[in-house]
């Protein structure tokens, strides 16, 4: 036991735990919006398109995070624009931006001379290398999103549920949809550091669907998803240390294991109840 606890003496591990908790809180809010609106596929588009920005940033010697954020935001806003104008099918637009971003990323990384440091970290995440500056960024963004969801809870919920009715009630629907697109893009890009491009979407969906096994109330899904997210990612981190396996993959594995276990328990309970009555 003391061996497990001794790991907390290292600053990098304390940072990693803090990053896991903050990412879980952030993903709980934004992910509940994504899952409720059934736009997980848009999340996939944003995530993969952001790789184009990372590649380009490497090539031009810029900050890869800034590149990813720019590509993520452009993709999210572009998809929202297409869906509002309706000239191209939304799913086709997502597929185009998804693969174009990946293609650009591969081309630019290939063209970048020499070794591209941290590239694997972007693809698969490297929570153990999260620094103080990144933690500060996560904290600031978390606070901003908590404020957004508290102050604008009603219009965010209503424009997600029934945009036409919200428009009739005088809510500026397009403005909220674009705002949420930018929020989704930034939240996803910030979380890429924790679990990587390939796995990031699961942090925005698995804790939410686990929470939805208990409640179907938007406001209650968020804290519950945060708790499931925190427990899955902290257990995943500990396992990654103990078993010496990649942290991002370990986190996703335990988030999924949690979901399946809860589902199984609820299923068994329902069977027992049916037999009793």
């Amino acid at each position: 036991m003391t061996e497990y606890l001794s790991i907390f003496e290292y600053q990098f591990f304390r940072h990693a735990i803090a990053a896991a908790i903050l990412t879980s809180i952030l993903a709980a809010m934004v992910g509940t919006y994504i899952v409720s609106r059934k736009i997980v596929f848009i999340g996939g588009g944003i995530t993969h398109a952001s790789f184009g920005g990372i590649g380009m940033a490497y090539f031009f010697g810029l900050n890869p995070f800034a590149g990813a954020a720019l590509f993520g935001i452009l993709t999210a806003v572009g998809i929202e624009w297409v869906s509002q104008k309706g000239r191209v099918r939304e799913d086709s637009a997502i597929a185009i931006l998804w693969s174009l971003g990946m293609a650009l990323g591969i081309i630019f990384v290939f063209m970048t001379p020499g070794y591209t440091p941290n590239l694997m970290g972007f693809l698969f995440g490297n929570i153990l290398s999260v620094g103080r500056a990144e933690l500060q960024l996560l904290i600031i963004f978390c606070i901003l999103i908590i404020l957004l969801f508290t102050v604008y809870y009603r219009p965010v919920l209503y424009t997600a549920f029934d945009p036409e009715f919200a428009r009739i009630k005088g809510i500026p629907v397009a403005r909220y949809r674009y705002l949420m697109s930018v929020v989704m893009a930034l939240a996803i890009v910030i979380s890429i550091r924790t679990v990587g491009i390939i796995l990031v979407l699961s942090v925005f969906t698995i804790p939410q669907i686990t929470a939805m096994l208990f409640t179907r109330n938007f406001a209650r899904i968020i804290p519950l998803a945060a708790l499931w997210g925190i427990s899955g990612s902290v257990i995943g981190l500990m396992a990654s240390y103990t078993l010496d396996i990649p942290s991002g993959a370990a986190i996703i594995f335990f988030l999924t294991l949690q979901y399946l276990t809860v589902r199984l328990i609820i299923g068994l309970r329902n069977i027992i109840r049916r037999k009793t009555f």
């Binding site: 509940t32 409720s36 609106r37 059934k38 309706g86 000239r87 102050v151 604008y152 809870y153 009603r154 219009p155 919920l157 209503y158 997600a160 549920f161 029934d162 036409e164 009715f165 919200a166 428009r167 009739i168 009630k169 005088g170 939805m212 409640t215 179907r216 109330n217 938007f218 899904i221």
Partner: protein, 248 residues
């Protein structure tokens, strides 16, 4: 005669660049109860959306001589995502405007109004339930509460009698009859046979609009405008039998 709430003047509208309705003229007065009938794809919902300001106008105009009316809207059941995690209380609350521009929370007075409305509709047992757990009738009631909570003077209902049982349908018509003394009602239905006794006038929509200043289901409506009208109703549903036409 009072001024009309809404005037549609040679309206042409549709989706993106495709015209669905053209040359539509209609005046809606404060005490109107208009039944809108027509074939599927004829433009009934398009007409409603144009009035609600949800669609672009390609030609003509929609005007409000007495100022933009407060509008209550009940969309078609298929437009509602029943799996969305929203409770009955939140659904009804979404019909109320925000008191403050910056802080979108409900006042104590508004919360009381919501509870009152939910109780009146007989939904007090399901207030905190997500809409996915409601029956078809309960969901329609909750959606009607959302439409009525802000005390509209124009109520627009798109096929409120689908996916509900006859008991709810009867209850709905009793409500609508009472509500008509306070607001104009536009009711879209493919089942005009059962709403005929309620509506005062009929608008037949099929690419354009033909207004009939009476609620009689004349042969004209049935044949000339080719509307699929279901005049068969089972159970204790209010109905009337129309006299035979004098001409052939």
């Amino acid at each position: 005669m009072s001024k009309p709430l809404v005037i549609l003047d040679h309206l042409r509208t549709g989706y993106f660049s495709e015209t669905v309705l053209s040359d539509v003229n209609l005046e809606i007065y404060p005490d109107d109860f208009i039944g809108i009938i027509g074939p599927n794809g004829g433009g009934k919902t398009t007409l409603i959306k144009a009035i609600l300001g949800l669609l672009p106008l390609f030609a003509g105009s929609v005007s409000f001589p007495t100022g933009k009316p407060k509008t209550g809207y009940l969309p078609q059941a298929t437009q509602i995502d029943k799996s969305f995690p929203i409770t009955v209380k939140e659904l009804v609350a979404s019909g109320l405007p925000s008191k403050s521009k910056w802080f979108h929370h409900l006042s104590a007075n508004q919360k009381e109004k919501i509870n009152h409305m939910i109780n009146d509709a007989g939904l007090s047992g399901v207030t905190s339930k997500p809409i996915g757990e409601l029956s078809g009738g309960q969901l329609q009631k909750a959606l009607l509460c959302r439409a009525l909570i802000d005390k509209p003077n124009l109520l627009i209902l798109d096929e409120p009698n689908t996916h509900v049982d006859k008991h709810f349908e009867k209850e709905l018509y009793t409500w609508l009859k009472a509500l008509n003394s306070e607001m104009a009602i536009l009711l879209v239905s493919h089942d005009i046979g059962t709403i005929s006794p309620l509506v005062k006038t009929i608008a037949c929509v099929n690419g354009t609009l033909h207004y009939h200043p009476s609620n009689q289901l004349s042969e004209e409506i049935l044949k000339v405008y080719n509307c699929p009208v279901d005049v068969i109703a089972h159970g204790p549903v209010p109905h009337r039998v129309l006299k035979v036409h004098d001409h052939d």
